[in-house]
Symmetry: C2
Subunit: 143 residues, 2 copies
């Protein structure tokens, strides 16, 4: 696992450094996407600026993917460190389930090609109400 990570860095001419390992480890240990600030807190020995620079590099190299929730970006490991997936989030209780669908993936590729685009990456975020919340709270929460 680590081996692959370091290979990606090296094969793209990047150094393997302590901050990069620390950020990668934090993301590996996390079981769900993290905010930038959370990553920084999980790597207290690393300067904030380096965390940001690392995150920017990881995004460029495709090591991570970032999605948004509310106004906040959340980052997690991408393939090959984590199987490709999307998120289904319950807007009541916040539970996050991972979604995989080859059919969806194929459709997105086709959609892109209809627009004469070569698809390189994508994000899909679904938001709704999970089964247990719709049982327990039949009335939508008021504002």
């Amino acid at each position: 696992m680590h081996q692959d990570f370091e290979s990606i860095l090296k094969s793209s001419g990047q150094s393997v450094t302590k901050p990069r390992r620390a950020v990668f480890d934090a993301l590996t240990r996390a079981d769900s996407p993290l905010k930038n600030g959370e990553i920084a807190k999980l790597t207290p020995s690393i300067d904030r600026a380096s965390v940001y620079r690392t995150l920017e590099l990881f995004a460029k190299l495709g090591i991570t993917t970032t999605t948004i929730r509310g106004w906040t970006p959340f980052t997690e490991l991408a393939e090959p460190f984590k199987p490709h997936h999307h998120h289904m989030i319950c807007e009541r209780c916040g539970v996050v389930e991972e979604i995989e669908s080859d059919t969806l993936e194929d459709m997105l590729t086709i959609l892109a090609s209809r627009h004469h685009f070569t698809l390189r990456s994508h994000t899909v975020e679904l938001s709704g109400v999970c089964a247990s919340c719709s049982k327990n709270l039949p009335q939508p929460t008021s504002l």
Copy 2:
């Protein structure tokens, strides 16, 4: 159009105020999603704090949708003020095309129900290389 907007506010027990109208107007005039800061600049007579509060309210009421590009959230009007769509962004030149597909929408609903979720909203963002960029720049840009 405005009528609908004010109806949404009133029917959910919210007041129709100057800041809310200003933010809505700014989003209406924009032809593409805006950053929070851009919205604030387009509404100079409105205090920044009120712009943020308004944006938060709009999101809750489903008046707007927010997607991410890089690490920055972009907001635009949602249905019924703008037809439902998604984005296909060229990572080379930045051009944004709007994507619509009923088949995609249906599939997302089905995917959600497989997870026993009731789908309420979703975002799909595709990123890739547009036709003209893949002609002009056959070699991927290096880091």
